[in-house]
Subunit: 342 residues, 2 copies
C-alpha cells in the first residue's frame, strides 16, 4: 500500500496537507455553503432558528467505539445519530453538527473515507448539516485509529418541556423498541469473544419519532435514549431526578431472543446494554394509548411497548418484577463490563 493511502502527521498540522485532506474529503462529503466559506466558524442566521422555537439545544459526545465498523453501523453514523438523539430527547429539532476527528498516524485512508461517507449519509437522512470541523493526527500508538467528536445544535419548539425531573407517579413508561441491540452487536463483533450473533446495531435518528409523539400529546413528561448503561441507567436517572419510584415488568421488556441468549452466555443483563436508536418516555396515563399508537405508526417506533410505571413508593429506585412474583432493585450500571461501546 502506498503512503498516499494512509493518514500522515502532516495532515493534522493545519498546513497544506491538512487543507488538501479537508478539500478532497470533508468538503465533498459534507457539501454545504458553511463549509465552503472556509472560515474558522459557521455563521447561522438566528432568524431561521427563531422560526422553529424559542430555545437553542446544545450538546456534545465523543465516540470511541471498538470495533470501528460493526453490523448495522460504524463510528461515523453513530457519531451523527448519537448527537442528534441527545438533541431529540429534549424535544429539539436538530439542525447543525460539528465534526472533530482525532486520527492515528497510519490510519487507512479507505477506512476514513467509509466513515466520512457514513457520517454524510446519516446527516442527510436526518436533514442536518455538518457545518464546522477539525482534524488532528497523533503519532502511531497515541490513539486507537479514529475517535470522533460531534457537537450539535437544534431548536426546541415553544412549550416543549421534557425533563427527567417531571416524571410523576402514575406515568406510564414506554420503550420505542428492543433493548440492547447496539451493545450486543458491538460486543459480538469484537473478535475476542468468538461469538457470532444475528443482531444489528439500532443506530438511527430519533427526532422524527419524538416530534410525532409531541404532536399527539403535551402530556409527555420525559424522554431519554438508552445509550451507555442501557434502560436501567436511564430509568435510575428518571427516578433520582424526579424522586419517584419506577416499577418494570420483566415480561414486558422487549428483548430479542438472540440478545437474551447472548446475555445469558456472557452473564450480562439486557437492560444494561446500550441502544443507539431507542428511547424511553414517561407519559401521563391518560395520554399513553395515543402516544403509543403514534410511536407504532413511525418506522423507528413500530416495536414500541409499555414497559412499566412511575410510582410514589421507592423514591429514587427502580424495581424489576419478574413473572414469578420476584422483585429486585436495578442499580445504575456499576463496574467495568462494557468499555468502548459507543
Amino acid at each position: 500500500m502506498s503512503d498516499k493511502e494512509r493518514i500522515s502527521l502532516a495532515q493534522g498540522e493545519g498546513g497544506l496537507a491538512s487543507s488538501q485532506l479537508v478539500e478532497s474529503l470533508f468538503l465533498q462529503a459534507f457539501d454545504n455553503e458553511h463549509l465552503y466559506q472556509r472560515e474558522d466558524q459557521a455563521r447561522l442566521e438566528l432568524a431561521d432558528f427563531i422560526r422553529q422555537g424559542d430555545r437553542l439545544a446544545f450538546t456534545t459526545d465523543s465516540y470511541v467505539v471498538d470495533p470501528i465498523e460493526f453490523p448495522g453501523g460504524d463510528i461515523g453514523c453513530l457519531a451523527v445519530n448519537g448527537t442528534i438523539n441527545d438533541l431529540a430527547v429534549g424535544g429539539a429539532i436538530p439542525r447543525y453538527l460539528s465534526c472533530a476527528l482525532i486520527l492515528e498516524e497510519g490510519l487507512e485512508r479507505a477506512l476514513l473515507e467509509r466513515i466520512v461517507a457514513s457520517m454524510a449519509s446519516a446527516a442527510r437522512e436526518a436533514n442536518v448539516s455538518i457545518v464546522t470541523g477539525d482534524t488532528k493526527v497523533v503519532p502511531r500508538g497515541k490513539a486507537d485509529r479514529v475517535f470522533i467528536n460531534t457537537a450539535g445544535v437544534g431548536v426546541i419548539p415553544q412549550g416543549v418541556e421534557l425533563a427527567a425531573r417531571r416524571c410523576e407517579p402514575g406515568d406510564v413508561l414506554i420503550a420505542s423498541g428492543y433493548l440492547g441491540d447496539h451493545g450486543a452487536a458491538v460486543l459480538a463483533a469484537r473478535g475476542d469473544l468468538a461469538l457470532e450473533m444475528d443482531v444489528c446495531s439500532d443506530s438511527r435518528p430519533l427526532h422524527g419519532l419524538v416530534q410525532e409523539m409531541l404532536k399527539v400529546s403535551p402530556d409527555i413528561h420525559a424522554i431519554r435514549d438508552a445509550t451507555r448503561g442501557g434502560v436501567a441507567t436511564v430509568l435510575n436517572e428518571f427516578a433520582q431526578m424526579s424522586q419517584t419510584g419506577i416499577v418494570l415488568q420483566e415480561g414486558s421488556l422487549p428483548v430479542r431472543p438472540q440478545v437474551r441468549g447472548f446475555c445469558e452466555i456472557l452473564g450480562l443483563e439486557p437492560w444494561y446494554l446500550a441502544n443507539e436508536g431507542m428511547l424511553v418516555a414517561a407519559v401521563s396515563a391518560s395520554a399513553a394509548d395515543e402516544v403509543l399508537s403514534s410511536m407504532r405508526a413511525h418506522p423507528y417506533g413500530c416495536d414500541a411497548q409499555v414497559i412499566g410505571q412511575v410510582v410514589a413508593e421507592l423514591p429514587g429506585k427502580v424495581q424489576l418484577q419478574s413473572g414469578f412474583g420476584g422483585r429486585r432493585l436495578l442499580e445504575p450500571l456499576t463496574g467495568e463490563q462494557l468499555p468502548r461501546i459507543c
Copy 2:
C-alpha cells in the same frame, strides 16, 4: 497511590462511576444552572442571543497537545481559549462551550483536576459557560492520557462581516503580538529536545480585543488567529481566499529574541510556529492607525504592529522581503515538523 486516584474504565461507561465523576469534578468546577439540570442537552434562550446580534457562530476543535502542561498553560486553558478564539475572529461574542474528554485509563486524577480547574478559570476570564459535556475512558495504551474537544457557540453582532475573501489590495496587515510563542514554549517543554527557553505560551482569549477593534472601525476586512501553521499559513489563506498577494517585511515581524534563537537552533522559521492568543487583521489603510491604537490600548494587543500589506500582484501568494532586498515566497506549512502543538 491508591486506585481511587487514577481514572478507571468504569468512569467512562455512563453508569454510577461516570455520574460520580461528573458530580465530584465537572459540576463543581464549571458550576452553572445548565449543567445542574443534568439533561442530555443544554437549553439556551434564543431571545438572549438575539439581543446581541443576528447570527449564531458555531465552531469546534480537539486538543491533543503534548506535553499536557507547559510554560504559560496546559491543555485545559488551551481548549477553552482556542475555541473562544475561533469564534472571536469571526467577530462573535463567545457565549457557551461544550467539553468532551477522552481519558486514558490510569490517568492521574490530580492531573485531571488541574486541567478541569484550568478550563474553569479560562472560561470565567472569558465570561463563557461550559454547559454540556461528555467523558469517555479508553483502555491503557489506546489514547495518550487526555484529549479534549470543545465546541463553542457565540453571537455575531449585526453588520459584522469578517472574512478572508474580503482582503483587498491596499489593506494593512496588523499582528496583535509576538509570533510563535506558543509553539516555541510547547516544543521546548518536550523533554526530547533538551532545550530550555524562557518563553511562555500566549494562550489567552481574543474576543475582547476583537470587539475593541470593531468598535473603532467598520473597515476591518478579515481577522484570523495564527494557530497551527503560524502566521505564514493564515496569510496564505487570506491570499488564496481573496486572490490578492501579501507582502511581509521580515524586519517588521515581531519575534522574541529567545524564540528567534530557538528557531535558528532547530532550523525552524518563527512564522510557521503556532500562537494561541495572537491574531492577524487585514484593515483598510485609512483605518489602520486607529485600529492599531485601539489594539495597543488592550492588554492582549499591547505589542501590536504592522507586519505587511495586501497587494494586487502575486494573487494567492505570500512574499517575505528581507532587509537586504531579498524576496521569497512563503508557502503554507508543509511536512511534518510540528505534531501535537495544540
